[in-house]
């Protein structure tokens, strides 16, 4: 285990990611102020996340820049856990495509980005006995890149597609002693793009009323990023060193389907929806450090605890009230709420660790904490038109309450209660051009 071996390994441990901030808080100041709704009600670039079909509603080019931040006050077993603030920049681009003929005013492109100020991606894969909220705060520390296109088919029907992109890492480090007796290292790692598809459709119900009743359905594929690095120092010296498998799944957004119904008039937008998240497919954070050979699948290497996550159904509701203050000036007031159930079971299996004191492998509790979230949201907006500059200004705030939830180890040992709250806020300025 030479320095070069470990150094080589460290060169490879680059990107470990956590899931997307938009899955936690929604995306875009308007949507985030409206209870993270949007599958039937999103406007502009925000639809690249909420439902790309709605990108076809764009008529004006717009560039939006904003700031977003979140603070976490999370308690596990009576102790406040320390988590850094999540803060970042929002960039959104509305691009209606000016086709002519039958395609006129029917196609729109949207680009939606969120880049944390300090990090592109945070990877925090801790030993399971370390108290942690694996599904919450570090998930907000990840870049978001989403692109989509929407098409107005006609007859009230719109369809759209897009993708989200992230990066995962894979590589190897080989350390060996060469023919001259010197230690040589060969390290190769790659950041590889991973993509998650997104698709959506909306239908304006033909009710013949002044208000538009719209149903929206959006699908977002699994967005995951694995890191997988193998360190091979078996030819370093006569000391028999195992292969180190430094791997894990640090980033994960489950596949999800959002269904929403919205009622729109020029003055008032109401939205109500639900999002199904397939957390049961989540394989968990960690992988074994030592992999058993194929001919000895039951070797003595440790295996990380296998947690059975469960599917969830989140509910969203929001309202946007437009008030025309003057001909060139409209203000918006927004409010909403959403719930995000807890996919982590309250009873989790224990992990294993080598205890040097007892000189044997012992059971250690898996101190994973999480709790259902109830979020209250609010927001405001300003729209100016000629003769004022063509500007959209939106602000929002969210308060997430973690409903206190007890956790126990599978041997019955109580681990304590998960509770706390999260505050989120942001401002976005858009310029139409």
């Amino acid at each position: 285990m030479r320095a070069s071996a470990l150094g080589a390994a460290l060169l490879l441990i680059a990107s470990t990611a956590h899931a997307s901030p938009e899955d936690l808080f929604g995306y875009g100041a308007r949507s985030q102020g409206m209870g993270a709704t949007g599958a039937a009600s999103a406007e502009g670039y925000e639809a690249a996340y909420a439902n790309p079909a709605l990108l076809s509603r764009m008529r004006v080019r717009k560039l939006s820049l904003g700031l977003q931040g979140a603070t976490f006050a999370l308690d596990a077993g009576g102790d406040r856990l320390s988590y850094a603030r999540a803060k970042g920049t929002v960039i959104g681009v509305d691009l209606p495509v000016p086709f002519g003929g039958v395609l006129e005013d029917r196609v729109g492109l949207g680009l939606a980005f969120y880049t944390p100020t300090d990090v592109v991606v945070r990877g925090k894969i801790l030993y399971p006995e370390t108290p942690q909220f694996p599904l919450l705060p570090d998930r907000a520390q990840s870049v978001a890149v989403r692109l989509g296109v929407g098409v107005d088919i006609g007859w009230g029907l719109r369809v759209g597609a897009g993708f989200a992109a992230l990066a995962e890492i894979n590589g190897s480090a080989i350390v060996a002693t060469d023919a001259t007796g010197r230690v040589g290292t060969r390290v190769e790692d790659q950041l590889v793009a991973t993509y998650a598809p997104a698709a959506g459709l909306t239908y304006d119900l033909p009710l013949g009323t002044r208000a538009i009743w719209r149903a929206g359905l959006a699908y977002r594929g699994t967005l995951d990023a694995r890191f997988a690095v193998v360190i091979d120092a078996t030819k370093l010296s006569s000391l028999n060193i195992p292969l180190f498998n430094i791997s894990g799944l640090a980033q994960y957004d489950p596949a999800q389907i959002a269904l929403e119904l919205a009622r729109e008039t020029p003055e008032l937008t109401l939205a109500l929806g639900a999002t199904y998240k397939r957390w049961s497919a989540y394989p968990g954070l960690l992988e074994p450090t030592i992999l058993c050979p194929a001919d000895n699948a039951d070797c003595g290497a440790l295996t990380p605890p296998k947690v059975a996550y469960t599917d969830t159904l989140a509910l969203h509701a929001g309202v946007d009230w437009a008030i025309e203050v003057a001909q060139p000036l409209t203000t918006h007031l927004r409010a909403g709420a959403f719930t995000d159930p807890n996919p982590l079971p309250s009873r989790v299996p224990a992990g294993q660790a080598y205890d040097p004191g007892q000189k044997q492998t012992v059971s250690v509790p898996t101190r994973y904490f999480n709790a259902p979230r109830v979020a209250l949201t609010w927001g405001a907006g300003l729209r100016t038109r000629k003769p004022l500059p063509p500007i959209d200004l939106d602000v929002f705030g969210q308060y997430h309450l973690l409903v206190p939830t007890d956790h126990t180890s599978d041997d019955g040992t109580p681990l304590g209660k998960a509770s706390g709250h999260v505050l989120v806020g942001g401002v976005v300025l858009g310029v139409r051009f």
Partner: protein, 442 residues
């Protein structure tokens, strides 16, 4: 023997650090065909790289997508070194408009390699490598820019390009079983961040007349740092304990700052000539070698080590050899001839030339950062369909390019006759081909 060692080493390795793949291979087929002489002439998605000020010259929304492949045939002592090709998508968006009566544009440009976003390969500093061409090979390029035109004769633009550095901590603990390795009860945890790196670019373009324009562009320097610590602690088959601490710092990627001065001259209605000179601050280059600080504590077990087992020793601290590089001025020359002009179609022939004198000092000591002077000749074709459909009221442009880079042959002579790698010759060429499709809307 030395030649064999060198050939083997070069077969086994390729890039260490990386830089910008667009510097040697261009961004979009029009720019590549014109030798990269685009600072005063770019007006499409390629302006995101060549000169952000050019974005505001777009007549309407433009969407571009293309592909290129640059295949290396780089050799030492007659052996091909199997440097990987650079290949991937290029594309971008230009969205012009007006804000308060002032022409304004937003642009986004991207090169997305086929196989990866980026790659790091780390070797000993003695290991031979084509430092600059490997540097520019395997990396994403992503830039966003804004541009305005406060007067009809002046365009200004700027923006940011994005990459990331790494810092983090690795912890491995448990029992390493040296008699039955698969029964080792080891675990790991990782706490690592990819941190944001943003570097700027700015540009200005001045139209002296309808036919002559001058431009200046600045591209910022950036470094991708890798700062990592590790702690390994545990038992070695219950014979003894092991504690291993490591701290490493390195710059895995360095892109020197650049200043570009360029001009474009529409000689006739159908012939355009362009000349750029790029000053590259290579002298600021940081050797891509990691510094290591290691603490290793493995006390011998009671009764000594079993027969045949030699414990690892703390390696000597890396002494990083200096890498001497010189600033360079790189000329780019481009010509574009509109050979066909009808109401519905236009056709273009393009040619270009670029000369990169190697900035790396002769590698006479222990390092082997190989480089040679590069002459790049390029040729291109372009076709433009004007308002081809009712649904497409703008134009559709298809451009293609081929570029041949010849790297002059030269010998590297070592000062030490006992140098492990020894003397060698190096030469080669690079073929770069690609095509770009742009749809413009008015």
């Amino acid at each position: 023997m030395r030649r064999a060692l060198l050939a083997l080493a070069l077969l086994a390795v390729a890039p260490h650090a990386r830089a910008n793949p667009l510097d040697p291979f261009g961004f979009g087929s029009r720019g590549a065909a014109m030798g990269g002489a685009m600072a005063a002439d770019a007006r499409s998605f390629d302006a995101n790289y060549y000169n952000p000020a050019g974005l505001v010259r777009a007549e309407g929304l433009e969407l571009s997508i293309g592909y290129f492949r640059a295949s290396h045939y780089l050799k030492t002592n007659g052996h091909d070194n199997d440097v990987d090709p650079v290949k991937g998508l290029v594309g971008g968006v230009v969205a012009p408009g007006e804000v308060l009566g002032v022409p304004f544009a937003f642009g986004l440009g991207v090169h997305l390699p086929d196989d990866r976003i980026s790659r790091v390969r780390a070797f000993r500093q003695e290991t031979p490598r084509w430092e600059l061409y490997d540097n520019r090979n395997q990396r994403l390029y992503l830039a966003a820019n804004l541009a305005i035109s406060p007067t009809p004769w002046l365009q200004l633009g700027g923006g940011m390009s994005f990459m990331s550095s790494t810092e983090g901590h690795l912890d491995i603990s448990g029992l390493a079983n040296i008699f039955r390795v698969e029964d080792s009860t080891l675990r790991h945890q990782v706490d690592a961040d990819l941190t944001s790196v943003r570097y700027p670019q700015f540009g200005a373009r001045v139209a002296l007349s309808d036919r002559v324009a001058l431009a200046a562009v600045y591209r910022g320097e950036f470094k991708l740092k890798l700062d990592l610590t590790a702690y390994l602690h545990g038992s070695i088959s219950e014979l003894t304990t092991a504690v291993y601490q490591l701290e490493t710092h390195s710059v895995n990627n360095f892109l020197p700052q650049q200043f570009v001065f360029g001009g474009s001259w529409l000689v006739t209605d159908d012939l355009r000539a362009a000349l750029d000179v790029t000053w590259v601050n290579w002298s600021a280059y940081v050797p891509p070698v990691a510094s290591l600080d290691v603490h290793l504590d493995i006390p011998p077990p009671p009764g000594g080590w079993p027969n045949g087992i030699t414990p690892p020793q703390t390696p000597a601290k890396t002494r990083i050899a200096a890498l001497e590089m010189h600033d360079r001025a790189v000329p780019h020359l481009g010509l574009e001839w509109r050979a066909l002009a009808t109401r519905a179609w236009e056709g273009f022939l393009r040619a270009g030339y670029e000369y990169d004198k190697s900035p790396i000092a002769p590698q006479t000591e222990v390092t082997n950062y190989i480089d040679r002077d590069r002459h790049a000749m390029s040729f291109g074709l372009g076709g433009r369909a004007l308002s081809p459909l009712r649904e497409l009221p703008g134009d559709v442009r298809l451009d293609a390019h081929v570029q041949l880079s010849e790297l002059a042959s030269g010998a590297t002579i070592k000062r030490d006759p006992a140098d492990l790698v020894g003397d060698y010759t190096a030469t080669g060429h690079i073929w770069n081909v690609g095509a770009t499709l742009t749809v413009g809307f008015k």
